[in-house]
C-alpha cells in the first residue's frame, strides 16, 4: 500500500515536472527577446548570425529543440549556460545551497515569530492588547518582502549598521569550504567566527523573507487557536485549574498546528519564489539572483534549468508537508 502511494506520488511528480518543462520551454520561445540578437557583433553578416543561431541549437524547430533538451535532461545534461558558459546543472548545484540555507532560516524565523505572535494574540484575545496585536499583524501582512528588504537596508544597513548589507560572506574570509552550505559547514566544523559572519550576512534577507510569512502564520494559527480554545476539552482543562498559558501551549496548540503546517508548506514555496527579488537586493548569491541575470540575458538553458529546479523544490516541499501533516494527525496517518 505504502509502495503504491509512493509510486503514485513519483508518477505525479514526473508528470508535473514534464508539464512545467513543456510550459517553460514553449513560453520562452514565444515571449519577446531573442538571445542571439543580444550577441550579434557589430560587423556580423547574416551568415554569422545564422552560425551563431546554429551554435546554440536555435536553428531547429521548437519541437526539435525540446526533444534535444529533454533528451539531455533525462541523462542529466541540462545544457550549457549561454551567458555564464558553464554547465547548467553545475551552476544550479553551486547556487542552490545558498538559497536553501536562506529559505530554511527564513522559514524557521517565520514559524518562531508567527507562532509567538499567534500565541500572544490568543492569550490577549479579549483585550486592547489583542486588538493591537491583530492590527500590527495586519500591517505586517500588507508589507511585501521587497519592501521589508529596502526598509531593512535603510534601518539595519545604513542608519544603525549592525549587519552586512550584501553578499553571503565576507569576501576576505571566504576560504576553506568543502561544500556550498557555508552556514551548516562552518557550524559543523566549529568555525564559529566564520559561522557568525555567514549568519550576520543572512540576517537581513532572512528577515525580509520571514516577516511576511510570519504574519500569515500568525493569522492562521491564531484563528485555529481561538477555535480550539472553545472546544470542550479546553473547558474541562480550564475547570481543572490549568492556567491560560498552559491551555494554549499544551492543549490548544497541538490541535491547531495541523492546518497551519499545511499552509506553511504552501507559503514556503512562495517564499522560495520570493528569494528572487530579495537575493537581488542583498546581492545574495543564490539561484534567485542568478535567475534575474538569466532572464535579462535571455539565457534559455539556464532559465529552463532554474524553472525545473524551482518546480522540483515545490514538489519536494509539498511531499514533505503532506508527510508532516500525516505524521501529526493520526486520522490521516491511518487513512
Amino acid at each position: 500500500m505504502l509502495a503504491l502511494q509512493a509510486l503514485h506520488r513519483l508518477l505525479m511528480a514526473a508528470v508535473t515536472l514534464f508539464g512545467v518543462a513543456v510550459v517553460v520551454f514553449v513560453l520562452l520561445r514565444v515571449v519577446p527577446g531573442d538571445p542571439v540578437a543580444m550577441m550579434i557583433a557589430p560587423g556580423a553578416s547574416p551568415e554569422d548570425v545564422a552560425a551563431l543561431r546554429a551554435r546554440y541549437g536555435l536553428d531547429l524547430s521548437i519541437p526539435e529543440q525540446f526533444l534535444v533538451w529533454l533528451g539531455g535532461v533525462v541523462t542529466g545534461d541540462f545544457g550549457t549556460s549561454i551567458s555564464l558558459r558553464r554547465d547548467v546543472l553545475e551552476l544550479l548545484s553551486e547556487r542552490l545551497p545558498a538559497t536553501l540555507e536562506l529559505a530554511v532560516a527564513a522559514l524557521l524565523v517565520a514559524m518562531l515569530v508567527g507562532g509567538a505572535v499567534a500565541v500572544a494574540g490568543t492569550l490577549a484575545r479579549r483585550s486592547v492588547l489583542g486588538s493591537a496585536i491583530d492590527g500590527f499583524n495586519g500591517v505586517m501582512l500588507a508589507i511585501p518582502d521587497f519592501v521589508w528588504a529596502l526598509a531593512l537596508v535603510l534601518g539595519l544597513g545604513v542608519m544603525v549598521p549592525l549587519f552586512p548589507l550584501t553578499g553571503r560572506i565576507d569576501p576576505t574570509a571566504a576560504d576553506g569550504f568543502s561544500s556550498r552550505f557555508y552556514l551548516v559547514e562552518s557550524l559543523l566544523t566549529l568555525r564559529f567566527e566564520v559561522f557568525a559572519d555567514v549568519a550576520s550576512h543572512m540576517v537581513m534577507p532572512t528577515l525580509a523573507l520571514a516577516l511576511p510569512l510570519a504574519a500569515i502564520i500568525a493569522r492562521v494559527l491564531k484563528a485555529s487557536l481561538v477555535e480550539a480554545m472553545g472546544e470542550d476539552y479546553i473547558l474541562l482543562a480550564r475547570l481543572k485549574g490549568m492556567s491560560e498559558t498552559r491551555l494554549v501551549l499544551q492543549e490548544a496548540l497541538r490541535n491547531a498546528v495541523g492546518p497551519t503546517l499545511a499552509l506553511t508548506g504552501v507559503q514556503f514555496t512562495f517564499l522560495i519564489g520570493g528569494t528572487v527579488i530579495v537575493e537581488r537586493i542583498f546581492a545574495y548569491p543564490g539561484i534567485g539572483n542568478m535567475a534575474i541575470d538569466a532572464v535579462i540575458n535571455r539565457d534559455l538553458p539556464l532559465i529552463q534549468g532554474l524553472v525545473l529546479m524551482f518546480g522540483l523544490l515545490f514538489i519536494l516541499v509539498n511531499v514533505a508537508v503532506d508527510a508532516a501533516v500525516a505524521a501529526l494527525n493520526p486520522r490521516l496517518r491511518h487513512g
Binding site: P32, P35, A37, M38, M39, I40, A41, P42, G43, A44, S45, D48, V49, A51, R55, I82, S83, L84, R85, R86, L91, E94, R95, V153, L154, G157, V158, P161, L162, F163, P164, L165, T166, G167, R168, D170, P171, T172, A173, A174, D175, E193, F195, A196, D197, V198, A199, H201, V203, R280, I281, A283, Y284, P285, G286, N289, M290, D293, I296, R298
Partner: protein
C-alpha cells in the same frame, strides 16, 4: 556550583548567537585598509574576456583590465598607450602589420610572457570557431611571423581600426601554454593574466577577490587586495557606500550622488563618458518624410532634459560623435527651435490640430531616466504637432527588433564607443547592412561604404565628419546626450575618472 535553568540556558545560547552574529559583522569591517572594496553594478559572468556575450559588455571591462592586459593600453582620456605591445603600425603600403612585444613581463603563474602568446591570442580571436564576437576585425590580418620581439603579419583586408580594437572589446592577450594545458573550463576556474591584479577568490553574483601582482610591469598596484562586490541594485550600492561597507561605487541615481558627495567622509566625481543616449529612426512610415524627422529633432530641448531630469549630469549632443571622439565636429548642430519644427511639419501638412502620429519605443529603468526623458520629449513634440505613443519594452526586445529591422519609427537606445572611432559609433549605428542599424538608405550607405577601408586617416576622419553633417541635415537619427557617470568614494581616496566608464582599481589610490 552554578546551575542554570533550561530557560537561562536558552537565553544564554541566544545571547551568544546574537553576539557572535554582530561580531561577525566586525570581520568585514576589519579587513578595510590594504583592501579596496568596490560596490560594482554588474555581475561577472565569465572570466574569458575574448568569447561569449560578456566579452562585449563594456561594463565588465574594468574587471577584465584588472586581471588581463590588452594588446594596447588606453589612458583614462581614451588616448592609446603602450600595453603588452610597446609599438605598432602598418607598413607604407598598408599590406603588413607590425607589433613590438614588451619584454620582461610574466604571467601570474610566473611563466614568461612571449610574442607567441600574442600571436596565439590574435589567431584564436580570428578563428570563427572559438566564438570571439569581434572575429570580423581580428580576421583582417594573419600569417604572423615572429622575429625577436617583433611580430609581423599580412593585412588580409585593410581595417583602419585594427589597432584601436586592440584596446577595446576582446583585445586581450591570454596565456597560450597555460590555456592549452588547462582548457577553457580550467581557465574559467583558475584564470591567469599579466594584469595588475591576480584572481584570488570568486563567487558568482557575490564577489571577486583580487590580490596585487607584485611583478606587474606597470609597478605594484596601490592596494594589496581588491574586492569587487557585485551589487546590481542601485539602492543597495548607495547603502554600501553610505554605511562604509564599500569604499567606492558607481552608477548611483543622480539625486543620491548629489546627496552622498556632500556627506561627511565621502567625495564624488561625475565625468562625461563614452556612452550616449539617442533615438533611432527607422526608415518606415512617416519617418520617410524629411520634414517630420527634422521637426522631431528641432522640437527637443536637450538642455532642459539634462538640467531638469538629469540634474545637469549630461552633455547634449547633435551627432553620434561625443566631444571626446575623433570625428567630433562642434560645427554640426541641430538647435532647439520649436518654431522651425512647426514650420517643417506645416510644410508636410501637419499641425497641433492635425498631428503626425507614430510610436516611440523605450526601455524603462535600463538607463537613468530613460522613460522620463521620452515622456518629456513626447510632451515637447505634442506642442509642435507630433503625437507619439510610447511603447515600453525590455532591452532584449529592443535587440531582437533591431536585428530584424523591425523597430518602431522611433526607438530610444544608448550606444557606447570607448575607442572613440567613428566606425564604432556612427558607422555601425547608421550603415544599412550593419545588424545594429535600422536606417537603410542608399544615399547614406553610399557615403559610409568607402570609409570602412579608407587607408588615409585624415581623409577617413573628415569623411566621417561629412557623414555626420549629412545625417544631421537629413535627420536620420536623433542624438540626445552624452551620459555622465557618477562615482562616489571615501574621501581619503583619490580617483581618476575614466572616460571609457571603466572603474579600474588602478585608477584609485589613497590621497
Amino acid at each position: 556550583m552554578l546551575t542554570l535553568t533550561r530557560r537561562q540556558t536558552l537565553a544564554l545560547g541566544a545571547g551568544g548567537l546574537l553576539t557572535g552574529i554582530l561580531a561577525g559583522h566586525g570581520i568585514a569591517r576589519a579587513a578595510v585598509g590594504d583592501t579596496l572594496t568596490i560596490a560594482y553594478n554588474v555581475n561577472l559572468p565569465s572570466f574569458d574576456p575574448t568569447v561569449g556575450p560578456s566579452a562585449v559588455n563594456p561594463t565588465i571591462q574594468a574587471i577584465y583590465r584588472s586581471v588581463f592586459d590588452q594588446f594596447i593600453g588606453q589612458a583614462p582620456d581614451l588616448s592609446f598607450q603602450p600595453g603588452l605591445l610597446t609599438d605598432w603600425g602598418w607598413n607604407e603600403d598598408r599590406t603588413k602589420v607590425w607589433m613590438d612585444v614588451r619584454e620582461g613581463v610574466t604571467w601570474h603563474d610566473g611563466s614568461p610572457f612571449t610574442p607567441e602568446d600574442v600571436v596565439w591570442s590574435l589567431e584564436r580571436a580570428a578563428d570563427e570557431t572559438t566564438g570571439n564576437p569581434i572575429q570580423f576585425i581580428w580576421s583582417t590580418a594573419g600569417n604572423y611571423t615572429i622575429e625577436g620581439n617583433r611580430i609581423t603579419g599580412d593585412v588580409l583586408r585593410f581595417e583602419p581600426t585594427f589597432f584601436k580594437w586592440m584596446a577595446f572589446l576582446t583585445g586581450y592577450v591570454l596565456p597560450k601554454a597555460y590555456y592549452e594545458k588547462v582548457g577553457p573550463e580550467g581557465f574559467e576556474k583558475a584564470p591567469i593574466g599579466t594584469g595588475p591584479y591576480m584572481v584570488d577568490a570568486y563567487e558568482g553574483n557575490a564577489f571577486l577577490r583580487l590580490k596585487a601582482n607584485p611583478n606587474y610591469f606597470g609597478g605594484k598596484p596601490a592596494f594589496e587586495t581588491v574586492v569587487f562586490k557585485f551589487v546590481p541594485d542601485a539602492t543597495s550600492r548607495v547603502a554600501e557606500i553610505e554605511s562604509g561597507s564599500s569604499d567606492i561605487t558607481l552608477e548611483v541615481p543622480y539625486e543620491e550622488y548629489d546627496r552622498l558627495r556632500e556627506a561627511s567622509g565621502l567625495a564624488g566625481v561625475a565625468t562625461p563618458i563614452s556612452d550616449i543616449g539617442m533615438i533611432f529612426l527607422n526608415d518606415i512610415d512617416v519617418m520617410e518624410d524629411r520634414n517630420v524627422r527634422l521637426a522631431a529633432h528641432h522640437a527637443i530641448d536637450k538642455k532642459a532634459i539634462v538640467d531638469r531630469l538629469l540634474r545637469g549630469y549630461g552633455v547634449p549632443i547633435d551627432t553620434l560623435e561625443a566631444p571626446e571622439y575623433e570625428a567630433f565636429d562642434p560645427s554640426i548642430t541641430v538647435p532647439y527651435d520649436p518654431d522651425k519644427a512647426a514650420e517643417l511639419l506645416a510644410a508636410s501638412g501637419y499641425s497641433p490640430d492635425n498631428p503626425v502620429k507614430f510610436t516611440i519605443q523605450t526601455t524603462r529603468g535600463f538607463k537613468p531616466k530613460d522613460y522620463e526623458m521620452i515622456q518629456a520629449i513626447v510632451g515637447m513634440w505634442r506642442k509642435v504637432g507630433i503625437e507619439a505613443e510610447i511603447e515600453v519594452y525590455e532591452i532584449a526586445k529592443h535587440y531582437e527588433l533591431r536585428a530584424a529591422d523591425q523597430l518602431a519609427p522611433a526607438a530610444f537606445y544608448n550606444w557606447g564607443n570607448a575607442i572613440g572611432d567613428p566606425t564604432t559609433s556612427t558607422g555601425f549605428a547608421m550603415f544599412g547592412p550593419s545588424p545594429h542599424s535600422v536606417w537603410d538608405t542608399d544615399d547614406l550607405d553610399g557615403m559610409i561604404g568607402p570609409l570602412w577601408g579608407e587607408p588615409d586617416e585624415e581623409k577617413r576622419i573628415s569623411g566621417w565628419k561629412a557623414v555626420s553633417k549629412y545625417i544631421a541635415e537629413n535627420g536620420y537619427v536623433i542624438p540626445l546626450l552624452q551620459y555622465v557617470q557618477p562615482v562616489v568614494y571615501k574621501a581619503d581616496l583619490a580617483v581618476t575618472p575614466n572616460v571609457s566608464g571603466a572603474l579600474e582599481p588602478t585608477l584609485v589610490s589613497r590621497s
